[in-house]
């Protein structure tokens, strides 16, 4: 087993990894930037090292400082968490070179799977479906027609140099193809000074389905079923669940086997996630492999009973896989909501600042993976994820109800969070009926309500506001600089007229 682990991350995932190490009896070293001295992960670790200024480039992405800290504190392994250096092949390779165990796949595997073209070739070899599309453009209309027939309608016309949806068209039927190609060519020419077009399969309202895999260093690979992560805002997942309402036993088996084949073809080791898009007809297409612990890994833990972070550490320390497919089954239903410091009622602006008071929900089937506490000041420099709220229940409806109540009981005062927004999604009839697609938020939440729509308990809240004990405000101290009222303190609330 590993002797001492440096956790090269911050926030909730750093705390999560430290807890897994504690379970295994392995001491931990936290790293922190100058802005994170008071962060929760520093308090939770056995040792902590400052690795640089607030700017991530100079601290959490500073490979030299992290490696030298690991050596200085006699760590034999580094856990990268997610984000930052987790999928940086150079970091993994550097660890290998320095004789430090990188808790994740080999550097060359990270490199291979990070390359879109190479991984597409790999998937073809492994006979895993990829989104069908033209490999090269066509010079004439019969060429486009032939390609469209091969791909299968509906097809999507895209400009080679395209972006921002320009020249993009969805074609349902061959009779519309010719005029659409001509019009797209004109649009592409004026937008990008190039009229090269190609065709790709159009996926109508796909779901994001991913499979968790575990592979040891000896070629044994298993999958731990799916997670559905279709609820996304600008390609950022915000609610994840398992099992998916879209998979039946047969499809689950097929996709799971493909996920394992992907991992085997890449020579994968440690924990990873194979992502697919699933269309309305049950066709699925490989998207990419995430070569790290996933933010949403706990929903898999709650339904399978496997601690994935502990599994990562045990595999990295050289253990042979101790579970097989016959040991695994999905029990009940789990949902995760990502709690972000952002303001859904003001264009999702990040909201840094001091958490004046917080209270986490608790009770049967509730789990909080958190990186915050009452009094913590959320720094402006990093990803706005604060914590992850998870529920487990016997079935999906029970889990939704439990999540609704847990979100209501999650109190964070002082900064803006997306908690109320998440609750509004969870209770939405289309979410409840499992009609979840990657376009869900655009379809149902494009114009989100504003603060003043919230009136249910307005009178009671006004009464409460008038009765707030004065003890919550620091006593006025004459001559103390903080006591000056600056326009900055009043700016946010100053309204004229």
């Amino acid at each position: 087993m590993l002797k001492k682990i440096l956790v090269a991350n911050r926030g909730e995932i750093s705390v999560r990894v430290i807890k897994a190490c504690r379970d295994l009896g392995i001491p931990t070293v936290a790293v922190y930037s100058e802005a994170d001295r008071a962060a929760l992960h520093v308090q939770q670790a056995d040792e902590a090292v400052c690795i640089g200024p607030a700017s991530p480039l100079e601290s959490y992405l500073n490979i030299d400082n992290i490696i030298s800290s690991a050596k200085e504190r006699d760590c034999d392994a580094i856990h990268p968490g997610y984000g930052f250096l987790a999928e940086n092949p150079e970091f993994a390779k550097r660890c290998e070179k320095e004789g430090i165990v990188f808790i994740g796949p080999r550097g060359e595997t990270i490199q291979l799977l990070g390359n879109k073209i190479e991984s597409r070739i790999l998937m073809k070899k492994a006979a895993v479906p990829i989104i069908p599309g033209m490999e090269a453009t066509s010079e004439d209309m019969p060429g486009f027609k032939k390609a469209a027939r091969e791909i299968g309608y509906p097809v999507l016309i895209k400009a080679s140099l395209g972006g921002g949806g320009k020249a993009m068209k969805v074609i349902e039927d061959e009779k519309d193809l010719e005029s659409a190609i001509e019009s797209s060519k004109r649009e592409a020419l004026s937008a990008f000074a190039d009229d090269t077009l190609y065709l790709e399969k159009f996926l109508d309202r796909p779901r994001h389905i991913e499979f968790q895999i575990l592979a040891d260093n000896y070629g044994n690979t298993i999958h731990l079923f799916e997670r559905e992560c279709s609820i996304q805002r600008r390609h950022q997942k915000i609610i994840e669940e398992t099992p998916s309402t879209a998979l039946n036993r047969e499809l689950r088996k097929k996709m799971g086997e493909d996920a394992v084949r992907v991992a085997e073809a890449a020579g994968y080791s440690n924990a990873g996630t194979v992502e697919f898009l699933l269309d309305q007809k049950g066709n699925y297409y490989f998207l990419e492999v995430n070569t790290r612990v996933q933010v949403e890994h706990p929903v898999t833990e709650l339904t399978t009973g496997v601690d994935l972070v502990k599994a990562q550490i045990r595999i990295a320390s050289g253990e042979k896989l101790w579970i097989g497919p016959e040991d695994l089954r999905q029990q009940g239903h789990a949902i995760e909501c990502r709690i972000y410091a952002e303001d859904p009622e003001n264009g999702f602006l990040p909201s840094a600042g001091k958490i004046l008071f917080m209270r986490e929900p608790f009770g049967p089937g509730i789990r909080n993976d958190s990186g915050i506490y009452s009094g913590f000041t959320v720094p402006v420099y990093y990803d706005p994820i604060l914590s992850k709220l998870l529920v487990w229940a016997g079935d999906r409806n029970e889990a939704i109800k439990r999540m609704e109540i847990a979100l209501s009981d999650y109190i964070v005062l002082g900064i803006k969070t997306n908690i109320a927004f998440l609750r509004d999604i969870i209770v939405h009839p289309e979410f409840v009926s499992g009609e979840t697609y990657t376009s869900f938020l655009d379809d149902h939440f494009s114009g989100y309500r504003t603060d003043s729509d919230r009136r249910k308990f307005l009178s009671q809240a006004l009464v409460a506001a008038s009765l707030i004990p004065t003890g919550t405000v620091a006593p006025k101290a004459v001559g103390k600089k903080e006591e000056f009222i600056t326009p900055w303190q009043t700016l946010g609330s100053w309204r004229v007229g």
């Binding site: 001091k354 004046l356 008071f357 209270r359 402006v380 979100l407 209501s408 109190i411 005062l413 002082g414 908690i419 109320a420 609750r423 504003t450 603060d451 003043s452 919230r454 249910k456 308990f457 307005l458 009178s459 009671q460 809240a461 006004l462 009464v463 409460a464 506001a465 008038s466 009765l467 707030i468 004990p469 003890g471 919550t472 405000v473 600089k481 903080e482 000056f484 009222i485 600056t486 326009p487 900055w488 303190q489 009043t490 700016l491 946010g492 609330s493 100053w494 309204r495």
Partner: protein, 169 residues
Amino acid sequence: MEHELRFGQECFKVTTEGKGGKLRATIGDETYEVDLENISENCLSLLIDGVAYTAYVAREDNKRFVQIGEEQYLFEEPEEEAFGAIGGAAAQLAETGIGPPMPGKVVKLLVKEGDRVEVGQGLVIVEAMKMEHEIKSTIEATVKKVNFSAGDLVNLGDVIIELEPAAMS
């Protein structure tokens, strides 16, 4: 006790009277019988006309945060209370200090000692988080003292400019 609380664009007057946790609260035409139990600094148990509510509360500067059930409310006490009410507690503020919103650098001073400033007039430009912020006066005042020069680094709590409110004289 009378409280003026802003909620978005609206302004509410809340009057509370009574003692020992048995109170009567009035908002506009509505009157509520309130039984208050202070659970902690941040938690109030309220029985309002016999219905139980748990309110989680916090305050910072002129902001009051309240959560009841799944709904969170942000109220603001109007500034006039702090600056305008002559003879009240605000009159005790002999001077007003202008400081940076976060650690940064003084880019430019827009006033000098002795200047008269109007509400909304720019006082100083501070650079923080790679962005320039102009700090404006919220009151009519005279510039009493300037403590920093352009190029100086300033921290939270530093007073760059001291103002003397015009209403005081």
